[in-house]
């Protein structure tokens, strides 16, 4: 966890710097009241102080248990799932959100998780019916329709 704490502290330090740098042109005080940069300044300052405190405490303590990363198979599953999720956003305007979601479910069940075909088809059908019934039929949400018209 020592490395994770160091990385977390550095990321938060950078984010604090970004908040400070991108809001420094805004007024800190406007006439008689705090301006738009007031809150960002104090949030960035607090973030920087706490990040440095976390960094120092992580550097001073002996190495603890490492981060609980998954094994190779687990890592592959997470990466492929995350990739599939991002692919849904890219493909949704062309294929439609519901159609892309169906493809994503089948990809996850059959390719990533290597589940059996029939239960996977059944799960996909039940989920699609649920999404359609609740969001389209009941709530009347208009999802992006692609080339397939669904």
């Amino acid at each position: 966890m020592k490395t994770a704490d160091i990385v977390s502290a550095v990321v938060m330090l950078v984010l604090s710097g970004v908040v400070f740098a991108t809001t420094r042109d805004l007024p800190y005080w406007a006439d008689f009241a705090p301006g738009s940069a007031f809150a960002p300044f104090w949030v960035a300052a607090t973030g920087a102080v706490l990040s440095i405190a976390l960094l120092v405490s992580a550097l001073r303590r002996p190495a603890g248990p490492p981060v609980d990363w998954p094994d190779r198979t687990g890592f592959q599953r997470v990466i492929l799932t995350a990739g599939g999720l991002w692919a849904v956003i890219v493909a949704a305007p062309f294929l439609g959100l519901v159609a892309t979601a169906v493809l994503f479910m089948l990809f996850l069940l059959l390719v990533v998780e290597r589940r059996r075909l029939l239960p996977s088809l059944f799960t996909t059908a039940v989920t699609t019916a649920l999404v359609y019934g609740v969001f389209v039929a009941w709530l009347g949400i208009a999802f992006p329709k692609g080339l397939l018209g669904v």
Binding site: V19, A30, F32, A33, F38, L54, I89, E113, L139
Partner: protein
């Protein structure tokens, strides 16, 4: 007191309307299932189902979401006892003894005492809620902007100091949440902040993509790392019967756990997980057989389960009376109110009496439904645990995406949800607490606007925060909540130093 009871009667009329009753039932059933699913907690489930509530009236929506919150406390027991995997964090202590009992053939007794304990503690906590919420809300009507700023700050700092884990990391994550909330247009002067030229960010980042991403998507990704094909221990209806000896052993544990859980639930940041751990440790101290704890103590299970359900209900008091959420689940509930166009705060009880009292009455009804679901129907729910989690995960992810789209009808929001899902996954890996991020996102606007209004009133003088006794007390509490972790750290260091010194003396004398 009479007024409260009359209002409660009115609340029952609202809660027992057929449509509301149906959604309470749906809520508690979903909560039971979500609680039972490893890797998906009640806050994640509530966030995922928030978009669905747009199609139903606010009162019904809040009743259903609250049902998921306390239903999750009941559901978590099933997986803890039968599979030895806590369905949600508040059931960790139940898994310790509950599964040992199940291995000894006493799964039914463990499930039964959990259900009865949760029910009694839940009903007790809701009764307390009936009488505590109105005077607290009336008292809070005298609050002005300095008090609101300090109260919101206390909500965040107390999360860090009372919650489990590193206080430093918790406050740092709250700062991360505040950074997310800063994105968009300044609520007072209208200038854009941290938008980097992206027009979609001008409206700011909504609570939902953050909550669905950080809780829902992140938890599913983390649970996909390994396979959950497990064989739950079987239980039958006739095993659910508690003997007179069991009952005698557990009744005081239920009472103690219930009281402790309620008071811990009241504190911002503590929540059901801390409550169940503290109740378990306290029960071990009071037990005539402390050696049984860890090996299958029925009173340990009773105390932990009573405490977590009682805390889940107790946490609603600051949310309903003050508009300040004390836990991730109540933060989602508060966000649901805002999304439904309802302004939370002390005036909620006056302006939305039907909603508040209907919600309180619904919790009496919901707890009765859950008792029925968990006593005679426990074996049925236990059978559901045989469905491999891998079949459910893709469905949860698809509902997350579709739900995120439904809130704003924009794919940009879906992208934000995924982004926060990845961030949440990395936070799980780096052992960074996620609840403070969501709490800070919810409280940020109140914090900033009330701070700036206070300084506007005082023309920049900080004296306004100590001018009124109430704000001075709140300021002291904020300072105290920041100093508490520091004092704990210094005490721990002193004890460690003393232990080292004593160790070296004993080695020298040998």
């Amino acid at each position: 007191m009479i007024d409260a009871l009359a209002s409660l009667g009115q609340g029952f009329q609202v809660a027992l309307a057929p449509m509301n009753l149906m959604f309470i039932f749906i809520g508690v059933c979903l909560g039971q299932l979500i609680g039972a699913l490893p890797g998906l907690g009640p806050s994640a489930g509530m966030a995922l189902l928030l978009p669905i509530t747009f199609g139903i009236p606010p009162v019904t929506a809040i009743m259903m979401l609250a049902g998921i919150m306390y239903g999750g406390m009941y559901g978590g027991t099933l997986t803890s006892v039968l599979v030895n995997v806590p369905g949600e964090a508040a059931s960790v202590m139940t898994a310790v003894d509950g599964h040992k009992l199940a291995k000894k053939g006493r799964a039914g007794a463990a499930l039964s005492v959990s259900a009865i304990g949760s029910f009694l503690a839940g009903i007790g906590a809701v009764t307390a809620l009936v009488f505590v919420t109105p005077p607290l809300a009336e008292f809070a009507l005298s609050f002005s902007s300095p008090e609101y700023f300090l109260l919101a700050t206390l909500g965040i700092t107390a999360t860090a100091s009372i919650g489990s884990g590193s206080p430093l990391k918790a406050i740092l994550m709250a700062v991360f949440g505040l950074m997310i909330a800063l994105i968009g247009t300044d609520p007072i002067l209208g200038s854009s902040r941290l938008t980097f030229g992206v027009t979609e960010l001008l409206d700011g980042i909504d609570f939902l993509p953050v909550a669905i991403g950080i809780f829902g998507v992140a938890e599913v990704l983390a649970s996909l790392e390994r396979s959950y094909d497990s064989e739950p221990i079987k239980t039958r209806l006739r095993d659910m019967w508690l003997s007179a000896k069991d009952w005698a052993e557990c009744r005081v544990a239920i009472l103690r756990g219930g009281f402790l859980g309620f008071f811990i639930g009241l504190m911002p940041g503590a929540g059901p997980t801390v409550a169940s751990i503290l109740a378990y440790v306290t029960e071990k101290r009071f037990s005539k057989h402390p050696e049984r704890f860890g090996e299958g103590a029925l009173d340990g299970v009773a105390a932990a389960e009573s405490a977590n359900n009682s805390a889940a209900h107790g946490a609603l008091i600051p949310m309903l009376a003050l508009g300040i959420p004390g836990s991730a689940s109540t933060a989602v509930l508060l966000a649901a109110l805002v999304l439904q166009g309802i302004r939370p705060g002390p005036t909620l009880l006056v302006e939305q009496a039907d909603l508040v009292w209907g919600l309180i009455a619904s919790m009496f009804v919901g707890n009765i439904i859950l008792l029925i679901l968990n006593l005679p129907l426990a074996p049925v729910f236990a059978a559901l645990l045989r469905i491999p989690y891998e079949y459910l995960a893709p469905g949860i992810l698809v509902i997350s995406l579709v739900g995120a789209y439904a809130t704003t009808l924009s794919l940009f929001n879906v992208g934000l949800t995924l982004f926060f899902g990845m961030v949440g996954y990395l936070m799980i890996k780096a052992d960074l607490p996620r609840a403070p991020v969501v709490l800070a996102v919810v409280l940020a606007q109140l914090m900033e606007s009330s701070l700036r209004q206070s300084l506007m009133l005082s023309e920049g003088s900080l004296v306004i925060f100590v001018q009124r006794p109430l704000s001075a007390i709140l300021l002291l509490l904020v300072i105290g909540s920041l100093l508490l972790p520091l004092l704990n750290m210094l005490t721990r260091r002193r004890v460690a130093r003393r232990n080292r010194r004593e160790g070296s003396i004993s080695i020298a004398t040998k």
